[in-house]
Structures are given as C-alpha cells and as structure tokens.
C-alpha cells in the first residue's frame, strides 16, 4: 500500500493569499469578528434553551487596540486546539448530520485569519459557557501560537487585536461604527460599544408590517437618498425593501444594494441574486437558505437562488400591480422614469406586460406614443433597427403613416406581443409594404428616368438588386434600399459561403444555385431628390454606373445593413473614381 504524506502549508503564504486575493479589503476583519460572535451566541442559545442574553461589544483604545467580545458559547481547550489552530476547520461544520444549521453564518473556518490584515497578533480570551476553565490563545502570523490558562475570564470569547503599522485607521470609533452598520445592520444580535447603551445595529425582521413612510425614512437614512417608492419584500428566501430610484439608470450602473445572508452583509452587487431588470431598484435584502461562495462575497448559483430571484420578481410585480389600483399617478411617475427597466420586466412576464403596456412609451414617426395610444392608432409598421427607422421616419411622416422603431432593447418583443395579444394591424415593415408607402411616379416621369433606371439595373445586378423610381420625402434622401426576408437570407448564405470552404461551401452553393429566380432587393431612387433629378440628365454611362453603385452602398449603410466584401470593394473603387474625375475636372478648369 502506498505511503501517505501531508502537504506542508506555508502559513505566511496562506495569509498573503487570504489578504491579497480572497478578500477585497481589510474591512472584512470586522465582518468575520461579527460572524464568529453571532455564531457563538447562536451556539449558546442552542446549548442553553431559554437563554436570550446574546450581545456583542467592542472596546477601543483608539488607534491602538480593539477588544471584540461576545457572551456566546466560548471554547474549551480541545476546541481551541481544533478550531483556532487548524485552517479550514470551523466550529460550525460538524453539526446536524454534516449540514450547517440555518442560523449559523460561517462555514469555512478561515475567517479569523483575516484579522492579521490589521493586527500583528490575535489574542483570544475564551471560557466555555457550559463550564470549565478559561484560556488565553495567542496566534502570530508566522503560524505559531501559545495557549495559557486564564483565571479571570467571563463566559464567551474576546478577540484582542493590536493595530499593525498602517492599520491604525481601523481602530477608530467612527470606522468601527461604520463597519458594524455596514456589515451587521441586520444582525439578530445587538452590537454596542463597551459601556454604552446605544445599539449600533438593528432593523425590523418583517418589512411588510412597516409603513411606507417609515420604509422611505429608513432608506433615506441608509442610503442618503430620497427614493420614489419603497417595495416591501417578504418571501421564503428574502426579507427587506426594494427602493425605487428617483432618477433613470442604465443596466450598467452599479446601484449599491445591501444584500445580507442571514443578517450578515454579503454583497453590494445584485447581479447574481436579482433579475437583470432590477437596475432601477436599490435593495436592502436579507436572504435565507442561500449558499455563499468561499470568499463570502457572492452567492452560489443553485436552485434556491433561482427560486429567490423568482420570488423577488413576483413580489415587485405584485406591488406594482396593486399600485395601479391604489395610486395610478405614482405608478405613472415610476414608469415615466424607469420605462427601460419596466419594458425589460414586461418582456419576461405576461402579467406585467398587461399591467404596463398602456403606459410604456415607444418611439414612432409621430413622436413618443404609449401602448394605449398605439392600440387606437390603426395600421402601423415597425422596423427593427434605429438607422432604418431614422431613414424611413420622414417618408412615413410625409405620408401620414405610422412607423414604430423597435431597435431598442425589448421594444421588438413588446410591439409584436401588443399586436398579437390585441389583434392590432401592426406589422413588421416588409419590402412588399414599401410599394404602398412610396409614391408612384407618372408614366412620363418613368420615361424620363428610363436611362438612369437601365444603367442602375445594370450596375446593381451583381448585387441582386434592381432599381425603381418613386417620389418620397425628404428630398435630401436620394435612394432607399429595401430587401425581402428571402434576399436577406440569401445574402447571409452567400456571405457564409464566402467565409467557408469544403463541404459547407458546396452545400451553400447548391442552395444558392437552386434558386431559379433570384429574389432581388430594390433600390428606390427618389425623384424628389435634386441628385436623382440631375443624374436623370447625365448621359455618361461610366459616371452613371459609378454614381448608382455609390448610392447603393450609401443606402445600405443608411439602412444599417452590413457591407459584404464586394460592396466594400465597390465603395472604395467608385469613391476613388469620383475623386479622380473631380480632380481631373479641376485640373482642366485650371488649364483653361
């Protein structure tokens, strides 16, 4: 049988890892002290049913020394050797069938070492509450520790830290008060400065029973902001408040939540726990039944987390639903400010869609219109890109037709759903519809343009595009490109074929070759445009060809269509040609 060996652990190196890599800031030493203190009190409550006297105190010699005391279970000598001297061993990891009890916060058994980030030694005075002698344990960063008996020691544990050079700031009253409130505001055990009666922490356990004005006042005290509204959250996994920000935010903005796990601050980031649309909220939440990561700075993504996220969404949804009846003006105010976030919510949830769609604004050729206005607007089309919308908006305005822009996040899904759910004549703008949107030219005008159209068809055939003459506004827009779904698909097939080789190239070629009559895109030339009017009088075939090809590329770009290889080449070639031609003309002028 193979011989077994043990890894040699360099404690100094471990401490470096903990302080420089695992934890983001030395601040966490206080979080770990709070956590150990609360767990010790919890353990004593379990061991001595009926005992309710748990409290934590902090005694300070400013800038020099800190004594953090709990009156919890304390440790006996065997437990000291076992739990204070072995990294990774926690006093909480062997309880209840190998599972950590719900009311214990810690689990990894490495938290105490974080104190070395601010102190050159860790001195622990401890005596078991169940009876037995007290001890003084002194640990040093080099990995050594001493243990001595201690006669005058109350039940519980005191951790005594001495400020390291450069860490004196952590041993100040204001800093300690700030850190206790930051990490331990929601803790179920009161925290005091030694000899004082003012509690440093403490919030309600059930926020659903607190009035709106109290919640808003609490939010103002906690965050220093006057919020628009406060949504109480009380579910199986969550308890707290979601505050509605009084200004518009973007999904990228870090909103500074306070998210606690079993009353101990875990994170300010809501990315893991909260739905992506929650960026318009600032949350103060205590969580239960969720698992932290090793660094205790985020949650594990597991089934319980997903359930908690759903509970949060349902709680916010229910609140807003009720608000529609109780205070529609406030709901309207919230929607006005946070339309983007609410649209994202409405996409996720049918109930919220029905609730909000009437209030939500959409960009249209007639300005911003709400869902309610669109329900009464009659026939409308929508386009999925902002450039395309900007290109077509003046045309639709001139015709008195309605065009909706769905190029913004969630708008496409909401408009399609609005049309489907309420049977509205709102459709995506297809190439066929353009025929009705653009004004026909007279046969005489068509005849006058025939030279230009012939030259254009010839120049554009390589791009599977044909030309048509129309009139539309504004006159500054010389050409408009429109393609059907078929053309779009074939453009993608062609592009993919150009990118691939071997079997894929062959299969895609077969697909392209099988199309007997290639569907053509259309370049609409605008007879209202002075450029087109002038081009209709040009007889120079080369100039016409170059100009039309440039108009084609320009219309593609204006419509937000990506250029393919041949189109890029043509753009460069024709632009250079025009420059040469212009330079030549200028030179001739100069000679004359």
């Amino acid at each position: 049988m193979a011989e077994q060996y043990h890894f040699q652990v360099n404690l100094g190196g471990m401490l470096d890892i903990l302080s420089n890599h695992l934890y983001k800031s030395p601040d966490v030493f206080l979080r770990e002290l709070l956590q150990n203190g609360v767990d010790a009190v919890t353990r004593r409550r379990r061991e001595q049913p009926g005992w309710t006297g748990g409290r934590l105190t902090v005694a300070l010699e400013p800038g020099r020394r800190l004594t953090f005391r709990d009156n919890g279970a304390g440790l006996d000598e065997a437990e000291i050797h076992r739990f204070l001297a072995v990294i990774g061993q926690s006093s909480k990891t062997e309880l209840e069938d190998g599972r950590i009890p719900e009311d214990y916060i810690g689990r990894f058994g490495i938290g105490l070492l974080s104190c070395f980030m601010v102190s050159d030694s860790i001195v622990v005075h401890t005596r078991p509450a169940k009876g037995g002698p007290g001890h003084c344990w002194t640990g040093l960063p080099d990995g050594t520790y001493t243990l001595e008996p201690l006669t005058d020691c109350p039940a519980g544990t005191a951790v005594i830290l001495t400020a390291r050079s450069g860490a004196e700031g952590y041993f100040q009253r204001e800093k300690i008060a700030e850190l206790v409130r930051y990490y331990g505001l929601a803790l179920p055990v009161p925290v005091f400065f030694a000899g004082e009666t003012a509690q440093l922490n403490g919030v309600p356990e059930d926020f659903s029973a607190v009035s709106r004005s109290q919640l808003l006042a609490f939010g103002e005290w906690l965050y220093g902001e006057t919020f628009l509204d406060a949504v109480p959250i009380q579910t199986k996994h969550l308890s707290g408040v979601a505050y509605v920000l009084p200004y518009a935010t973007s999904p990228t903005m870090k909103t500074g939540h306070r998210i606690y796990l079993k009353q101990m601050l875990l994170t300010e980031q809501g990315d893991t726990l909260l739905p992506p649309w929650a960026f318009f909220l600032r949350c103060f939440l205590n969580t239960r039944g969720l698992r932290p990561t090793a660094s205790r700075e985020d949650f594990y993504e597991d089934e319980a987390l997903f359930r908690a996220r759903d509970e949060f969404a349902a709680a916010v949804g229910s609140y807003l639903t009720a608000l529609r009846r109780s205070d529609p003006d406030r709901l309207r105010q919230i929607v006005d400010i946070h339309a983007q976030a609410i649209k994202a919510m409405a996409v996720w949830d049918d109930g919220l869609f029905r609730l909000f769609i009437d209030y939500l604004p959409f960009e249209t050729s007639e300005g911003a219109m709400t869902g309610a206005a669109l329900k009464d607007a009659g026939e409308a089309y929508y386009v999925a890109t902002v450039p395309k919308f900007k290109q077509l908006r003046p045309i639709f305005m001139a015709q008195g037709r309605l065009l909706i822009c769905t190029g913004y996040a969630s708008d496409g899904e909401l408009i399609a759903k609005l049309a489907a759910d309420f049977s509205l004549p709102i459709e995506p703008l297809r190439e066929e519809a353009m025929e009705g949107v653009l004004q026909q030219v007279t046969p005489e005008e068509e005849q006058a343009l025939s030279g230009l159209l012939l030259a254009a068809d010839d120049a554009l055939s390589v791009f599977d595009c044909r030309s048509e003459a129309r009139r539309f506004f504004p006159g500054e827009l010389p050409a408009l490109y429109a393609m059907s779904d078929d053309v779009q698909f074939l453009r993608q097939v062609q592009s993919a074929r150009d990118l691939s080789d071997g079997i894929f190239s062959d299969a895609l070629s077969s697909l392209l070759d099988s199309v007997e009559t290639r569907p053509l895109a259309t370049l609409y030339l605008n007879l209202n445009s002075p450029v087109i009017q002038r081009l209709s009088r040009v007889r120079d075939g080369a100039l016409l060809r170059g100009a039309v090809r440039l108009l084609y590329v320009q219309a593609l770009l204006a419509g937000g269509h990506p250029l393919q290889g041949e189109e890029l080449r043509v753009m460069n070639q024709e632009l250079l040609g025009l420059i040469e031609r212009s330079a030549g003309s200028a030179q001739e002028e100069g000679v004359r």
């Binding site: 990228t252 496409g412 993919a496 990118l499 062959d506 299969a507 077969s510 099988s514």
Partner: protein
C-alpha cells in the same frame, strides 16, 4: 464600450431564458451582430452556436445552415475559442439535419455532412449514439432498410452521453424510424413512455404525436388518431417549427372540428411564407390539402381571413375548398417530387399516396 459588453451579456441572459421561437432567434441574432461589431471571437462563435439551435428548434431550420458554416469557419480561425466538447458534434448535427430537409442540397453533399458529423463525434469523443440514430434516419430517407437496421442496432447498443438527445426525443425519433420501417407495434411500444407522460420535453410528445396521427389515419384507425389529436391539441403552437403539428391537426380536424381547423390554418399559414425548410412545408401542406379535400365534400366555400401574400388571396375571404385543396396538394406534390428525386426513393410520394387512399376510403373520420 463597457455598455456594449453589458448589453451583450444582457442579450445572452435574455435569449437563454426564452422558449425557442422566432423572437428568441431575433434576440440571438442581435447578440451575434453585436459580438461581430465588437470583434469578440469567443462570443461570435458561441452566439452562432446558440443561434443555430434557435433557428433549428423554433424558427426556419434552414437558416441554421449558413450559421453552422460560419461557426466552423470562425472556429478554424480561433481554435482556442471553443472550450466544450459538445459544440462541434452538435453544430455538425444541426447542419446535417438541416441539409437533408433541403432538397436543393444534393444527396452526396448531405452524405458528406453526415460524415463530417461523425468526424466531429470521433474527434470530441461524444455523440456516437446521437449520430447512429441520424445515420439510421438517413438510410431510411434513401430507402436503405438494411443500413437503417444496422444503425438502429448500434444506436441501441451505444450508451447515452452528454450530447445524446433527451430520452423523450430518443424514444420518439426511434419510434418514427420504426414506423418508416413498417414495424408499428414495436414503434408504439418504444414510444409508450412518451405518450404516457413518463418522458416529456419541450419537443415531445408533440412531434411524435404528429407522426402518429398521420400513421393512424393512413392505417384506417381514426379512433387512435383522435386520441392522439386530443393530446396534441394541448400544445401551444407558436413558431414555424410547429407547422408539423399544425399539419397533423389540420388533417384530423376536417373530421372533428372544421372551425378549429380553419382558425388553425389562419394562424399558421403566415409562418409558411418564405420558409426554406421544405420538409416542414411538405408536412404542413399535406395536412392543409387533406383538410380542404375532406371539407370540400360537405361544403363548397369556406370563409377565411388569409394574408394578402397567399397566392389565392381573396379580399372577400370566401375561398372554394376545392381550389384550396388543389393549391396545397400541388405545393406538397412539388416538394415531394424534389425530395424523392434527390433521395432516389419515393418516401414523400408514398406519404401523399397514403393520405390520398385514406381520403378515398370515404367516410373514414373518427
């Protein structure tokens, strides 16, 4: 720039939570376009992988073919950008599955895509079971029953792995193959856990119920077809890939609920416009043809709200059942001809003939 990355992440989170519908494909397309603009190899490749699935599962599957081609081309340029071992075989599987549904792609090229799929399976060390079932189906498509049996046996002998179809899809696909081999009892036994609800997924039992409805009607068993139809009616049809289910329900509803069939046609017909996947179209057209042919025995004209893009569109909405039946039959027949010519085996014509015989048997409704 950070906003763009955040938008990219949000788009991915969004489409990953959506059902497979054209809306999911649209969000996924937006993700790919943004990843392209940002020039991020990993996201460009993974976005295309997801998009190929989105097209195959909830839109026009044919659109997945160029996407798969781009996926492999980009992967070749950035070999380190694909970390998992499932992506290669899965993307090759989608490409192969799509190509066989496009009669425009010659059989030799379909075979090469099947080979490429197998190469990807061997390279990744996963997907053999999945490949064997596809190979079985490929043989059936060309009328090679012996070859199909070999692959079916190998499929059964190969253990499941991480990219095997789910158990519900496996049972359903195997049952469909067995039906094509004429082994109905064995097929019904294979699919029993799916029909009983013991095995279900997003695609099943809906897909196999559609197949079983046609099979039951073809074999003069209307009661069984009706039972399957009742189950299938619970499925919410919401994407072009549901045209298979729509076809089966249409065929059945001529006997049971013509009004519901008419409403179903009005709802699903727009999905067929511009659809490239010919197999989906064939199955839908076959159902629509039998619906109107059967209905035409009882009534001459039906009022329908069909879109103006439909070639027989009438502004007054009054359509002659016989004209509609002819149109759908001709459309189905044309597709059948192209498939059968490509495959060298008249499987599609046989499906049309079986449906015709069922119609000719007369009052054979449930």
């Amino acid at each position: 720039m950070n906003d763009a990355y955040e938008t990219l992440r949000a788009l991915r989170r969004r489409y990953q939570t959506m059902d497979y519908t054209p809306r999911r494909a649209a969000v996924n397309q937006e993700y790919v376009a943004l990843a392209d603009r940002l020039g991020l190899p990993r996201e460009r490749i993974s976005g295309r992988y997801d998009l190929a699935w989105a097209y195959a599962m909830g839109d026009d599957p044919a659109k997945a073919l160029p996407v798969c081609a781009e996926f492999f081309a980009l992967w070749e340029d950035h070999p380190g950008a694909v970390q998992g071992r499932a992506e290669g075989p899965s993307a090759a599987m989608i490409a192969c599955y799509v190509a066989v549904s496009l009669p425009q792609v010659p059989l030799a090229e379909c075979e090469k895509l099947l080979e490429r799929f197998h190469q990807q399976v061997q390279k990744a060390g996963v997907g053999e079971r999945l490949w064997q079932l596809h190979a079985c189906d490929f043989c059936l498509m060309t009328g090679d029953l012996a070859g199909a049996q070999v692959h079916l046996d190998r499929f059964r002998a190969t253990p499941r792995d991480e990219i095997s179809d789910c158990a519900a899809c496996e049972a359903s696909n195997a049952a469909e193959s067995l039906l094509k081999m004429g082994r109905r009892e064995e097929a019904l036994e294979t699919v029993r856990p799916v029909l009983s609800g013991a095995l279900v997924c997003e695609s099943q039992p809906w897909g196999v119920l559609s197949v079983l409805i046609h099979d039951a009607l073809d074999h003069d068993d209307p009661a069984r077809a009706l039972a399957y139809g009742r189950q299938l009616a619970r499925h919410d049809l919401d994407s072009p890939s549901d045209l298979v289910c729509a076809g089966a329900l249409l065929r059945l509803s001529a006997f049971t609920a013509p009004e519901r069939g008419a409403a179903l046609l009005e709802r699903c017909l727009p999905w067929s416009f511009g659809l490239w996947d010919q197999d989906l179209l064939f199955r839908f057209y076959l159902g629509a043809w039998t619906f109107f042919a059967r209905l035409g025995r009882d009534r001459e004209v039906l009022t329908l709200r069909l879109p103006a893009r439909f070639p027989l569109y009438r502004a007054d909405g009054r359509y002659a059942c016989a004209a509609l039946a002819d149109w759908f039959y001709n459309a189905a027949s044309e597709i059948a001809g192209r498939f059968d010519e490509r495959n060298g085996y008249p499987a599609y014509q046989k499906a049309l003939d079986a449906a015709r015989q069922s119609l000719d048997r007369g009052e054979d409704g449930p």
